[in-house]
């Protein structure tokens, strides 16, 4: 798969063909997810109506971490195997991941105030997600800090790989430290602690966010490839006078 799409022009053609399908899937999943989240699901027996914030908060937090995995994987493939799309994928995914992280923090704050009585607490889960936002910001800043995009890409890739240590800290922070944040309700190894009436809209919204991320990744990778060609074309025009 990696070798098949190692050719940027081939990947651009694939992305252009796939984008309308992933965009349509995103729209369908959001329509279904929002209907379930806002109309069909019941209030929680403890949290009341505020549980509806979970349907936009939890998928944002999941995608914030998943996007970082994509950035780190792209960075690793660029640094280790010099995969021509690795750096491009990391560049394309990073701003989207940063905004997912910001969204997780904003919606978490809007959920925290009515439930905990505080917009923000300096506990391990919230602080480690804030660190994730700073890692994304550092990554984006390094990408744009050099005139030579390859140098910026290398420096940003090293930061992205070093920052991957933050992901298990985010995941396990609610188990390792005392926190106001609730522990994980969904695990691969145990039955979910959520009623199906609440779990279903959560999973549909998570699928919508995932389809959205794939669509944005395809669009932004195409934009990055076009931008790289643009730089080469500008140089050629300048060389011709």
């Amino acid at each position: 798969m990696m070798h098949r799409f190692a050719n940027p022009a081939r990947f651009a053609r694939f992305a252009a063909a796939a984008t309308p399908w992933t965009a349509a899937l995103t729209a369908l999943l959001f329509a279904a997810g929002l209907f379930l989240a806002l109309f069909a699901s019941p209030p929680d027996y403890q949290q009341g109506e505020t549980v509806r914030i979970m349907y936009v908060h939890v998928p944002s937090a999941w995608m914030a971490m998943f996007a970082y995995v994509v950035v780190a994987a792209g960075s690793a493939s660029a640094l280790v195997w010099r995969h021509p799309l690795g750096d491009v994928v990391a560049r394309a995914a990073s701003p989207v991941g940063a905004l997912f992280t910001l969204l997780a923090l904003i919606t978490g704050s809007l959920w925290g105030k009515p439930m905990w009585g505080a917009w923000w607490v300096w506990d391990a889960r919230l602080t480690s997600v804030l660190v994730l936002l700073f890692l994304y910001m550092g990554h984006i800043a390094l990408l744009n800090a050099f005139d030579d995009p390859a140098r910026g890409g290398r420096a940003a890739a090293i930061l992205a790989l070093a920052g991957i240590v933050n992901l298990p800290i985010i995941k396990f922070s609610v188990d390792w430290w005392n926190t106001l944040h609730q522990p994980a309700s969904i695990s691969r190894f145990a039955r979910p602690a959520i009623d199906p009436a609440i779990l279903t809209p959560l999973l549909v919204m998570a699928a919508a966010y995932f389809a959205y991320f794939v669509t944005m990744l395809l669009v932004r990778v195409r934009a990055e490839l076009a931008e790289a060609k643009l730089r080469a074309a500008r140089s050629a025009v300048l060389a011709r006078g």
Partner: protein, 66 residues
């Protein structure tokens, strides 16, 4: 009408809930629009520059072109 207002009030927490959905909509739609516009802008400028470079290969970013 009262039913609609009661629904929007969300048990007294409507301000928090609708603000969270508004923030999500703003971010997700904003990223979509900016990313799409960035792609179209780059592709159009690329096409314009390629007309000034007669020997250049056509772009592989547009559908159906290699």
């Amino acid at each position: 009408m009262e039913g609609v207002l009661a629904y929007l009030d969300m048990g007294g927490h409507g301000g928090f809930i609708w603000a969270a959905y508004a923030a999500a909509a703003l971010v997700l739609v904003g990223v979509w629009v900016l990313s799409w516009r960035g792609l179209k802008r780059s592709e159009e400028e690329l096409k314009r520059l390629e007309t000034r470079l007669p020997g250049a290969r056509p772009t592989g970013t547009a559908r159906g072109r290699a």
